[in-house]
């Protein structure tokens, strides 16, 4: 026991370093990683980055196209589009990350327990997953959002209800294959209890695919948020969100193109950075891929 306790930390530091070395060589993924850090910083310091208050109307300058005072123009109430984009990014990022945290908090333990204990626990969890995945995700979102009403926390709730299944299924599959391995059986033979085996042996080894799944989950949640807000079911105005900006002003696209095109471009760019970051992470974590 003491041997593992001493060996474990050094081995983990080594793993992080190896992964970082493999990640670093991929230029595009590295660039995306830097852009993601930038996005996080912009969201955290939004009040400082945004040139104006996103809710403050400038009635005199309403419907302004991009100019020197308002870099991306203003909307029907004269609110600064750039500032609204910055604050919308905050919503998008929080939804993306928090929804994945919630999915892990529910999916990881349920998946691990189902895979490890088997029997009725496995039966119940698998049936739950089956039922939730039998209904198309977007339909389930819409059903839930209309039931709950628009709003940040309702959106989070809807995403948590639908989002944990993929993590749970992944972890369950991993645990099912890992429980047959020699080191897990050895740990069992040495008298390790369920908690010990699950936390130190199973979860640590199932972590890689979960991590990759999470990075891809973030942009997926962002799209879902934008789509639902676009349809008026997600984040309700006046709180800015890229989706509700596009949805509210799509009718004005002929004259005030800046109101829809900028949010769309920013969303597309952010999604691309997350997907490329995830792809780079996947390659870095998979030892079978030569770099």
């Amino acid at each position: 026991m003491t041997a593992t306790a001493i060996a474990a930390p050094t081995k983990r530091a080594g793993m992080v370093l190896t992964v970082w070395r493999r990640f670093r060589t991929q230029k595009l993924a590295l660039l995306c990683f830097i852009l993601i850090i930038a996005q996080v910083l912009i969201s955290v310091f939004a009040f400082w980055v945004a040139p104006y208050d996103p809710l403050e109307p400038h009635y005199v300058d309403a419907y302004a196209l991009p100019n020197k005072t308002f870099l991306m123009g203003t909307d029907d109430l004269g609110r600064d589009v750039l500032s609204r984009l910055v604050y919308g990014g905050r919503v998008s990022l929080s939804i993306g990350i928090l929804s994945q945290v919630a999915a892990v908090l529910i999916g990881l333990p349920l998946g691990a327990l189902a895979g490890w204990l088997g029997g009725w626990v496995d039966f119940v969890v698998t049936r739950f997953i089956e039922i939730l995945t039998a209904v198309p995700t977007i339909f389930l979102y819409i059903l839930l959002m209309i039931a709950l009403g628009p709003g940040f926390w309702n959106l989070m709730l809807a995403m948590t209800i639908t989002g944990w299944t993929s993590i749970a299924r992944l972890v369950r599959g991993q645990v099912l294959s890992l429980r047959q391995t020699d080191y897990v059986r050895a740990a069992q033979a040495m008298g390790g209890d369920n908690k010990h085996i699950i936390t130190t042996h199973l979860l640590r080894n199932a972590l890689t695919p979960v991590l990759v799944n999470l990075t891809f989950g973030v942009p997926n949640a962002m799209t879902a948020e934008a789509g639902l807000s676009y349809m008026g079911l997600g984040i309700a105005p006046p709180t800015p969100s890229w989706g509700n900006m596009m949805g509210t002003y799509q009718g004005l696209i002929r004259t005030n193109w800046n109101l829809t095109v900028f949010p769309a471009l920013v969303l597309a760019l952010v999604m691309m950075t997350w997907y490329q970051f995830g792809e780079g992470l996947r390659v870095a974590l998979d030892p079978s891929i030569q770099i």
Partner: protein, 313 residues
């Protein structure tokens, strides 16, 4: 085999029962009844005794569990009930009118994205690591970052508003089909290209492909017959669920192009608490998804003779 299929179909009934119960009780737990919105839209209150009478006629004054049992009993007779909102029309009539639009969009999207996705996938696998492969990869990166509603927005802005080549909305003839189908195809093309390329590159490294080459078969024959056929299994895996979601239509594309499909109708129905409509569509979607998963599993066995669902004794 028959036993396996029957077992899966029994499972489908179980899933449908649970999904229907969940939806039913969720719908009834939401505040607001079917006639509140109608009253709101016409800006007048429905007198309480009239409301009571309508609710009594529709059985809405009974306890919820009793309503659910009545609903199930009706289902046994294939009676899906009447829409509360479009008065006098049965659910079956509404489906018959609106679903064809969704299925047409889905069908055309399938044809288009299979043609383009498989072609790009095969091409990028054959020309691996050349400039052609790289151009396709970059194109796919851009597609991935664009959800269908953004693609739809840009397509409308450019081809309908600026150039005026296609109408901005509607679904009446080939001219109106182009933009919605293009907007709907991004995701499917991306998935198909990626899986086809990946699977083909995997298969290309195997020994029977080397044997085929050694026999002196043309490169074309090796790629299309030996590699592509064996690379199909992973493609079928993703094609199944894709078909299901395409055949049920797209909320975004239908609402952006004002196409009177099922989803377009449904988004109104959910807001209006049209209980029978919501129930019927949830079960319709669920049934389609589950059946497609079953068909996908059966297709595996057809493509790959090693796959079997009958336990060997």
């Amino acid at each position: 085999m028959l036993r396996y299929i029957l077992g899966r179909l029994t499972g489908l009934i179980g899933v449908l029962l649970v999904v229907s119960a969940l939806t039913f009780f969720l719908m009834h737990a939401i505040p607001g009844g079917p006639y509140d919105m109608v009253a709101l839209q016409h800006a007048q209150m429905i007198p309480q005794d009239l409301l009571d009478r309508i609710n009594h006629l529709n059985g809405l004054d009974k306890p919820v569990w009793q309503q659910y049992l009545i609903y199930l009993n009706n289902l046994l007779h294939f009676d899906f009930g009447y829409s509360y909102i479009s008065s006098g029309r049965t659910i079956v009539e509404i489906f018959a009118e609106h679903w064809p639009y969704s299925a047409q969009i889905g069908g055309l999207t399938m044809i288009f994205s299979f043609a383009v996705g498989l072609f790009l996938g095969i091409l990028s696998a054959m020309k691996r690591d050349t400039w052609i492969d790289r151009v396709i990869t970059v194109l796919m990166l851009i597609t991935q970052a664009m959800p269908s509603f953004i693609v739809a927005l840009f397509l409308k802005l450019f081809f309908a508003v600026q150039l005026g080549w296609f109408p901005t909305q509607g679904w009446a003839g080939p001219n109106t089909w182009v933009l919605p189908v293009l907007a709907n195809s991004g995701g499917p093309i991306l998935t198909l290209q990626r899986y086809t390329r990946g699977a083909m590159v995997d298969v290309m490294g195997s020994e029977y492909v080397r044997t085929a080459r050694a026999k002196g078969l043309t490169e074309r024959r090796v790629t299309l017959v030996h590699v592509f056929k064996n690379a199909l299994t992973p493609v079928v895996t993703v094609a199944g669920p894709m078909t299901a979601s395409l055949m049920t239509g797209s909320f975004f594309v239908e609402s952006m192009f004002r196409i009177p499909g099922l989803n377009w109708y449904l988004s109104g129905a959910i807001g209006n608490r049209d209980y029978p409509m919501i129930m019927a569509s949830t079960m319709f979607y669920t049934a389609i998804m589950t059946i497609v998963y079953l068909v996908t599993d059966l297709l595996y066995a057809m493509i790959d003779p090693r796959v079997t669902y009958v336990k060997a004794r």
